[in-house]
């Protein structure tokens, strides 16, 4: 089996993350793989989706060619409404975020450090257009920050690191990381392995993690 095919798919990463989100949570999903989480909510659970451009109760995308260009999400894609939805303005939307009213936010990452630092808005490359959006507000305000990301970049560079080299989004904010290879907590200043994806072993993950990785704690 080639390395590329080991571990969870994007959809499986999203599904694994969805499994950890309690029924009734208010959830904000970032652009990319995090958006897929909504497709894998376990049966019997209902989540309410917040999008920072002023909507709670966001539903799935409309059919191709349908929808209203003024009913969009933070990624500027058309969405729909679920029953119980509410519109509000931007300051109220970020009052929900900053005020700790959103339970869970799932984001992508460029790097996550073992102390929970997150870098996900800029590589700091010269000539890049710095664009932060709502990422810093989300990590500063939402109670539980989850990250879904490939364990390494395409060229194999670890994204779980001792300390971030890219500009930070927030300090010590990430609680748990869902990668193609594993579920890892950032806790007590260290990466703590929670679960391995099927067919992946501890050493395989450890070699692809640029910081110490504590093995799974056996339940008592």
């Amino acid at each position: 089996m080639s390395e590329q095919r080991q571990g969870w798919t994007r959809e499986q990463m999203a599904e694994r993350c969805a499994f950890d989100i309690p029924n009734g949570s208010y959830v904000n999903l970032g652009i990319g793989i995090p958006e897929l989480v909504a497709d894998y909510v376990p049966e019997g659970r209902e989540l309410i989706y917040h999008t920072e451009n002023g909507l709670l109760g966001m539903g799935p995308s409309p059919a191709e060619g349908e929808g209203d260009p003024e009913l969009i999400n933070a990624g500027k894609k058309k969405v729909t409404l679920n029953p119980g939805a509410a519109f509000f303005h931007h300051a109220d939307s970020f009052a929900m975020i900053r005020g700790g009213h959103i339970d869970v936010c799932v984001l992508g990452a460029l790097q996550v450090a073992q102390n929970g630092d997150l870098a996900n808005w800029s590589t700091g490359a010269p000539g890049a257009i710095p664009s932060v959006g709502g990422a810093m507000d989300l990590v500063a305000g939402v109670r539980t920050i989850y990250v879904i990301t490939q364990h390494t970049t395409k060229d194999g560079t670890p994204k779980l690191v001792e300390s971030c080299t890219f500009p930070l989004t927030g300090v010590g904010v990430v609680k748990r990381i869902y990668t193609d290879l594993a579920v890892v907590d950032a806790v007590g200043g260290h990466f703590q392995l929670v679960e391995l994806s099927p067919g992946v072993d501890f050493d395989y993950v450890r070699e692809r993690t640029a910081a110490p990785l504590l093995p799974i704690v056996q339940g008592d």
Partner: protein, 236 residues
């Protein structure tokens, strides 16, 4: 299914603990959640810090809660009342503390508490006795005082229509402090004249989104403070 409805006002306020900070919506009688307040009196929690614009009227609702000795401290802007001696008597005899806050500063401190803003600057009260104890700072040639965001353990409010997700619309000027108080508490409890299924309230018209609300209880015929007082009612 998300369903924040609870069966009774008693159940809604059951976990309010001694010493809790409780914000109570309403400006005078408009928006006062009388049934929730009466349930709180029966529940028995004491040593409360209560945040309200006023201190109640007659001997029902908030005035009854104060009279029952459950309120150790009031944070409010206008504790004087033309038709109640409950607060004045207890204040003069030292049985209740008062933190007096200008009305707009109070409303904004509550919003700030709910919005994750620990402190802000306001021109209100500068050069008056109410600047006492507050840091002063000049921005662009004008003096301001720094005030702190205000949070609560519980908020009790009255809505007109709520859905089972906790979305709320209000009746006229009964809205007043309730939307910002709903934001500022760990546990916000709303009594609504009618409770409907999600989707029945137009998303464009929701005033308080359900994310701020923990419990919803239907009180189909809420008492109006002035009517109770005119009828000579006292509580309990």
């Amino acid at each position: 299914m998300i369903d924040k409805r609870v069966g009774s006002v008693a159940e809604a306020v059951a976990d309010i603990f001694d010493g809790a900070t409780v914000m109570i919506g309403g400006f005078g009688e408009a928006g006062s959640p009388i049934e929730l307040i009466h349930a709180l009196i029966e529940q028995g929690a004491t040593g409360l810090t209560v945040v309200n614009n006023n201190t109640g009227s007659g001997e029902v609702g908030l005035a009854a809660l104060i009279k029952a000795g459950r309120v150790a401290r009031m944070i409010c802007s206008y504790p004087r009342s033309t038709n109640s001696t409950v607060f004045p008597d207890m204040y003069r005899s030292g049985q209740i503390e008062l933190e007096l806050v200008p009305q707009g500063t109070l409303a904004e401190r509550i919003r700030a508490g709910g919005a994750g803003i620990p402190a802000f600057y306001t021109p209100t009260g500068v050069g008056t006795p109410l600047e006492e104890g507050l840091e002063k700072r000049n921005f662009d040639g004008r003096d301001y005082v720094m005030v702190r965001g205000l949070k609560a353990d519980f908020t009790l409010i009255k809505g007109q229509v709520a859905d089972s997700h906790g979305n709320i619309v209000y009746n006229k000027t009964a809205r007043n402090y309730s939307p910002v108080m709903a934001m500022a508490a760990t546990t916000t409890i709303v009594q609504a004249t009618s409770v409907v299924e999600p989707g029945k309230i137009d998303p464009e018209t929701v005033v308080t989104p359900g994310v701020f609300v923990r419990r919803v209880v239907e009180v189909p015929n809420p008492a109006q403070e002035s009517v109770l007082i005119a009828a000579g009612v006292t509580f309990p």
